[in-house]
Amino acid sequence: MRWLALIWKSLLRSKRRTLLIVGSLMLSVFTVAVLQSLLTSLNSMTNNPNSSNRLAVRHKSGLTQMLPRSYEPYLRQQPEVETVCALQWFGGYYQDPRNFFANLAADETTIFQMFREEFGVSDITEAQIKDFQRDGAGCIVGEVLAKKNGWKVGDVVPLTGTIFPINPRLNIRIIYKSPRPSDENALYFHFKLLEEGVPRMKGLSGSFWVRLHRPEDIPRFVERVDRHYANSAYETLTETENAFNLGFVKMLGNIGAIIQGITLAVVVAILIVTGNTMATAIRERTTEIAVFRAMGFSSGRVLTLLLVEGMLLVAMGGMLGLLLALVAATGVRSTLGSLTPFLADFTILPDTILACLGGTLVVGLLATFIPAYAATRRPITDGLKAIG
C-alpha cells in the first residue's frame, strides 16, 4: 500500500457521499465554466482585435433612423479615412422566421476593404470579388451559415424581408472563411438591391462603417464628424465598432453583473456544501484520526493526508465539470452558434479552465482545512474517548 492508495481508499469510504459531492461539484463547476464562457463570448463581441480602427457612424437618435448617403463623400474626404462602407441591417429570413442570421445590405465596392480580416480576403481571388460585384443579386455568405443551410457557390438564396417589403433572391458568389466562427454567420448583398426594391431607402443608409488608417486618429475624427453634423436634420453619433456592438450587449441588461452574481452564489453555495460534507466526514473519523496519531502519524502528516483527500475529491468534481462544459461548448457551437452569433465563438478558454480548477482547489482547501486542522489539534485521548 502506498500513501495515495491509503488516501484513495479513505476517499471511497462512503461511496454514495463521495458520488454526491463529486456530482454537486461537477454541476457547480460546469455552471460556473459555462456562465464565465458566456460572458467571455459576449465580451468578445465588443472586443474584436481587428476592429481597433473601425468606426460606425449612425443617426444620433437611434438605429432605426437613417442617414443620407450624401454624408459618404464628406466622410471619405477626411484625411484619417482609409475607406467607408454603407451598411444597412436587412433582417430577412431564409425559409423559417426562427432561422436567424445576420443579413445586411452593403456597399459592394468597399466591403472587402472594410472587413478584409473577417472575410479572409487573402483567400478570396480577385475574380470571385469581381463576380460578386458584377452580379447585382450577388451575395457573400460565411462558411458556418453556408454549411448550416447546405449552400454552395452558385446556389440561389431567397430571403423574406421583415423590415423591408422585398424578398430578394440572391446568388451566392463567395463563401468566406473567418478567423472567428461568429463572423461566418452572416450574409451580405448589394446595397443597390435594397435601394431599388425599397424606394424610401433611396439615398439613405442606417449606418456608415469607416476604417481609419490609424487607431490613434479616432478621437479627433469622431469629434470632427459629430461636430460637423451637429444641429442638422441628421445628427450623427460616431463610435468605435466595439462601442457600437456594446450597445447591443447592453440591451440584454447588465448581464455581466448578473453572471458574476450567479457565479458568486454558486461558489459560496458549493463552499458551504463541501465544507459541511468534509466536516461531517472528518468528524465521523475522529477516533480513527486519534488512532493514526497514536501509532505515530504526526499531526502534520494526518493533516496532509486529509487535505490531499479533500483536494482529490474536489479536483475530481472540478475536472468532470470542466469536461462536461467542454462537451457542452461543442454542442452549443454546433446547435446554437448559427442562431445566436456570439455563441458561434462559444468556447471554454484555457483561462476559464485554469480559473475553475484553481477556484475548485481553493474551495477544497478551505472546506477541508478547517475541520481537518481542528481534528488534528484535538488531544489524542479525546479522540479515543478514553479518560479512565
Partner: protein, 240 residues
C-alpha cells in the same frame, strides 16, 4: 498526599515515573486524576492496571504511552524523557517504541487486515518487500495468515483484535499498551487474546501494560497494580 511508590525490580526499568501528576480542568475547577505517582517497571514486565472507573488507570496508561502529557513530574519510557519531546518527536517515538491495543480494535474499516497491519510501517521507511514480510510475520504470530485480504467487517471480534495485536507488534516495539483489550469480546475470544498477549510477553519479551476491569484478564499479567482516586492502592504479584 503521601502515596506509595512502586518498583517492580527485576532489572533496568523501561518505565520510570517520578512524582507524576495529571489534572483536568472543568472551567475554573481543577480535577486531579493522578497525584505523585512514582513507578519503576522493568523490561519484560506484564502489568495489569486495575481500579474503579475514574481511578486514573487509563490516564496513567496514556501518559506512559506518550499520547497525553502530565501536569507534573517526569516520565522516562524506553530510554526517553517524554517531557523533553515536542509533539512531532513524541509521534516518532510512539511509532518506534509503543504498540497500541484498544478495546474496540479501532481497525480502519476500508483497509484489509494486511493493510491495517502495514499502516504503522508506512512511517518507518521500510521498503515494500520488507513491509510485506513483516506484516505476514506479524499476522502469522496471531494465526491470521489466511485473512490477509479480509476487511474488518468480514472478521469476528476476536479476529479483529488479533489483527489489532499484529498491528501493534509489527514495528517490533519495546512496549505494548492495551486498554481493556478483552472488553468487547466474549469469554472464548477473550481467553484467546489474553493467551496471545501472554505469549508475546513470555516468548518475545514484550513489556505489556494493560488496563482492565476484569480480574480474569488481570490474572494473565505478572503483576497487578491497583489505583484508587489517582494514587496507588496496592500491588499484587500474580502466581500463574
Amino acid at each position: 498526599m503521601d502515596t506509595p511508590s512502586i518498583s517492580l525490580g527485576g532489572g533496568e526499568p523501561i518505565i520510570r515515573l517520578r512524582d507524576v501528576a495529571k489534572s483536568y480542568w472543568r472551567e475554573e475547577l481543577e480535577i486531579p486524576v493522578l497525584q505523585g505517582i512514582d513507578l519503576d517497571i522493568p523490561v519484560g514486565a506484564y502489568i495489569a492496571l486495575m481500579g474503579p472507573s475514574g481511578s486514573g488507570k487509563t490516564t496513567l496508561l496514556n501518559l506512559i504511552a506518550g499520547i497525553d502529557r502530565p501536569t507534573g513530574g517526569s516520565l522516562e519510557v524506553c530510554g526517553s524523557e517524554l517531557n523533553d519531546l515536542d509533539d512531532d518527536e513524541l509521534a516518532g517515538w510512539r511509532n518506534g517504541h509503543v504498540g497500541f491495543i484498544f478495546q474496540n480494535y479501532n481497525l480502519v474499516p476500508v483497509l484489509t487486515a494486511f493493510e491495517n497491519v502495514e499502516l504503522p510501517l508506512l512511517l518507518t521507511g521500510a521498503g515494500r518487500g520488507e513491509r510485506r514480510d513483516r506484516v505476514e510475520q506479524a499476522l502469522g504470530l496471531v494465526n491470521l495468515t489466511d485473512k490477509l485480504r479480509s476487511y474488518p467487517r468480514q472478521l469476528s471480534g476476536g479476529q479483529e483484535q488479533r489483527v489489532a495485536i499484529a498491528r501493534a507488534i509489527v514495528t517490533e516495539p519495546d512496549l505494548l499498551v492495551a486498554d481493556e483489550p478483552t472488553g468487547a469480546l466474549d469469554a472464548k475470544n477473550a481467553e484467546e487474546v489474553l493467551g496471545l498477549m501472554e505469549r508475546l510477553n513470555s516468548e518475545l519479551g514484550k513489556t505489556i501494560v494493560m488496563v482492565t476491569h476484569d480480574p480474569k484478564a488481570a490474572h494473565h499479567a505478572r503483576h497487578q497494580i491497583h489505583l484508587e482516586k489517582g494514587v496507588f492502592d496496592r500491588t499484587v504479584e500474580v502466581n500463574r
